[in-house]
Symmetry: C2
Subunit: 458 residues, 2 copies
């Protein structure tokens, strides 16, 4: 069993879902039902997360209506566009990392490279891009594609896409702008570089019109857990967000990812592994269970079924008997890893349809811990110390309440155990996380000091 991978846990606050990750959270008496379109709500959540030293704020995304039931039950159908929201939230925060999700299938590399470079400048080096290939069929209809591209095709595009984006971020060297007023020379043409890319998906000669980001490259995050997803993560991701339902599978995942990454000469701590984690905790286990039950009681069965339909790839399950088994499903090209989990729970562990959707409404396949504050703390420490995780992307069931509860009751216990920090480290998100700053590919020689300062020699 591998041992603890780093001194302190990395803690993310995954806050996309307005009123919280539980699918019925919007019905909770404490919820602000305008949360998904209320900037004030996000400002409050951001300040809360930063006050408690979360490393990152995480926003998921897809170019399609979310959690789509078509009957009006789902509380997160609309949402802010994540780059604009993150740019606004950058203005009310100083230290927290800003992880926004964007799809390589439904955007263009040039536009995306600009947006993240700009966010990195706006936030003074706190931008991160969670690269996804998008698993929603509706995205193709929205964008006018004949069909949602197959999984292999999406990953072929994603692999070229990220190479282009990272190449574009190197268009201008860090010191390309001497801005010599006396001589009238603003930039040094020798420090401007055109990216020439010839691939099977993209062919372009491009120069970014944004200066090199403060971090060199915004931090690369990935969430794909399929074979192609893991391989792309191993090659390029610096943070991997993953759904692992238990410690055993998380250890297998971490070991597999480390092995793949080492083939690209990338070693821990080059890749930070963050499983998603939903916590229901209280002074006693009974109190924690009551928090779960309070939210579970708010799920209408019709909504549970439609959410499950969506998660397995858009097949209509509305006529299922909720107390019966999950029917066998036809093949799909949507999110393969989550569907595989649902099928395993249904066919191998024998969960019925109601149990499946209840499991999914709490955490959508991510680990869920239910127990006393002490017991939850123990389990989190166990994952961290075993090397199954470098930290967690916390998915609060109810926002901002559950985030506050976790911050005030679990984080102090983790700090007491010596695995969570007492203050932010100075500098950019990379510097805070201990990730190296990528050298510009066009600079032929360089010396990097251990303090993270960079000296370029040509």
């Amino acid at each position: 069993m591998p041992s603890q991978r780093r001194e302190h846990m990395v803690m993310g606050a995954y806050v996309s879902y307005g009123t919280g990750h539980h699918a019925a959270s919007w019905r909770h008496p404490a919820s602000d039902t305008t949360a998904t379109r209320n900037l004030g709500h996000y400002v409050e959540v951001t300040r809360l997360a930063e006050q408690h030293l979360f490393d990152t704020l995480f926003l998921s995304d897809a170019p399609a209506v979310f959690n789509d039931d078509r009957a009006g039950f789902g509380g997160r159908v609309t949402f802010f566009e994540p780059l604009t929201l993150m740019s606004a939230l950058a203005m009310v925060s100083q230290d927290i990392g800003l992880v926004a999700t964007s799809s390589t299938t439904y955007k263009e590399p040039y536009n995306l490279a600009r947006e993240y470079a700009s966010l990195d400048i706006i936030s003074e080096g706190r931008a991160a891009w969670n690269l996804v290939t998008t698993s929603k069929q509706a995205a193709a209809r929205n964008l006018g594609l004949p069909s949602h591209p197959a999984h292999a095709e999406r990953y072929r595009r994603a692999n070229e896409f990220i190479d282009i984006v990272q190449g574009l971020w190197d268009t201008w060297e860090d010191d390309a702008f001497p801005a010599d007023k006396a001589k009238g020379r603003f930039y040094d043409p020798a420090k401007r570089h055109e990216l020439r890319h010839r691939g099977s998906v993209f062919s372009l000669d491009a120069e970014l019109n944004v200066s090199r980001p403060p971090q060199g490259h915004p931090v690369i995050v990935q969430a794909g857990s399929s074979e192609a997803g893991r391989e792309l993560a191993a090659r390029t991701a610096e943070m991997v967000f993953t759904a692992q339902p238990d410690l055993e599978s998380a250890l297998v995942f971490a070991k597999d990812l480390d092995r793949r990454a080492s083939r690209y000469a990338r070693l821990n701590p080059d890749v930070i592994i963050l499983p998603g984690l939903t916590v229901y905790a209280g002074t006693t286990e009974k109190e924690a269970r009551e928090k779960v039950e309070e939210l579970q009681s708010l799920i209408r069965p019709e909504f549970g079924l439609s959410m499950l339909s969506d998660l397995v790839g858009g097949f209509d399950l509305s006529s299922c008997d909720i107390e019966g088994p999950l029917p066998r499903l036809p093949p799909s090209n949507a999110n393969t890893s989550r569907r595989a989990l649902i099928e395993r729970l249904a066919y191998d562990e024998g969960l019925n349809v109601r149990q499946l959707y209840e499991r999914m409404t709490t955490s959508r396949g991510h680990m869920t811990l239910i127990g006393s504050y002490d017991a939850v703390t123990d389990e989190i420490v166990r994952w961290f110390e075993s090397g199954a995780a470098d930290g967690f992307n916390i998915m609060p069931p109810l926002l901002p309440e559950s985030l506050g509860d976790f911050s005030e009751n679990i984080l102090p216990r983790l700090r007491h155990r010596g695995v969570f920090k007492r203050r932010y480290r100075p500098g950019t998100l990379r510097e805070k996380l201990g990730l190296r700053r990528p050298e510009n590919r066009y600079v032929t020689q360089n010396v990097t000091t251990s303090e993270g300062e960079h000296h370029h020699a040509r």
Copy 2:
């Protein structure tokens, strides 16, 4: 001659170019040469513009390196991506409208509709989209298109593009979210609408995943002055940004646009016409001329030539004799109206190459007023009262200095003359400008009160 079109002038602050609109402004002793990548600079400019009651902040854009000379003379080669910058600036302002430019040729309607809807929510109803088709050849290389699409093709796409974007903004009716916690119904499925578009460029069935923007639709701005550009503006634009070198041509333009707009049943004040305006003013005309000379002396001839090359469509003029005439140019599919202006100045008015680039470095073909504060004020009032303009998009040669100078010396004079406001009107940008809020196309009947409140009846 038409008379004054509205009570107060609409005043825009066009602030894209970092250190200012004059091409050599970055060499001025007062300039911050990091301005194009310095958020603090933009925060300062935004606060200055809002303090002086400018109606809009205006950011131009193209997906390519700007003012490109390749020799290092140009001071604005890199820049913030405008949607992320505007979202950040929304957080440090309360009243000023936020006009960001985006290209219909190099973006997708779904992504763009999301971004502007999100900015509109973030800014509480202050977003505006300046629709351009992009005239930079380099954009095609950056995005990987085989070539920059021809003018007619760009406008065919633009016409469908805006219809899709406006349709997407109507996906959710204003009151689509009753969020009934007791019944568990978050949204009303009858108030959710799929856009079905079948055109020669786009074919899609789409639903936006952002709620209806506070303004219904962000304000539509356009800057094209070609035949196709005017026709698109007449059909869809609520604000037209135009380059008019003198009052006579501005009057012809306004009359032409009014005539075209009336064919779409759109009448003044549905369309606000804002010519660009560069002002060099001082207590005396001599002082104003010194301000011009100070900046003109900073232009290197090599840079003047390369800027002119860029403006006429990318033809290399570097071997021209600057004291000689402009050579005849081969056809181009770039910005036709600006090129026509340059050709007119060269071939009809006989300006030599140096005179051409000097004219362009100060204002890129927009009106330039040089004179005492009183004389400049008189001329601005004359344009406004003659009906040639509803106001101006002010292009400060030097930022923030020229914006401050205009604000402190010209605006008080305009206020004294009764043509500029004393305070912001309350409400969204539409309400401040007196533009009607578009009804949702899927709402069959409606009653709008004169106070701008909206009552929907089905």
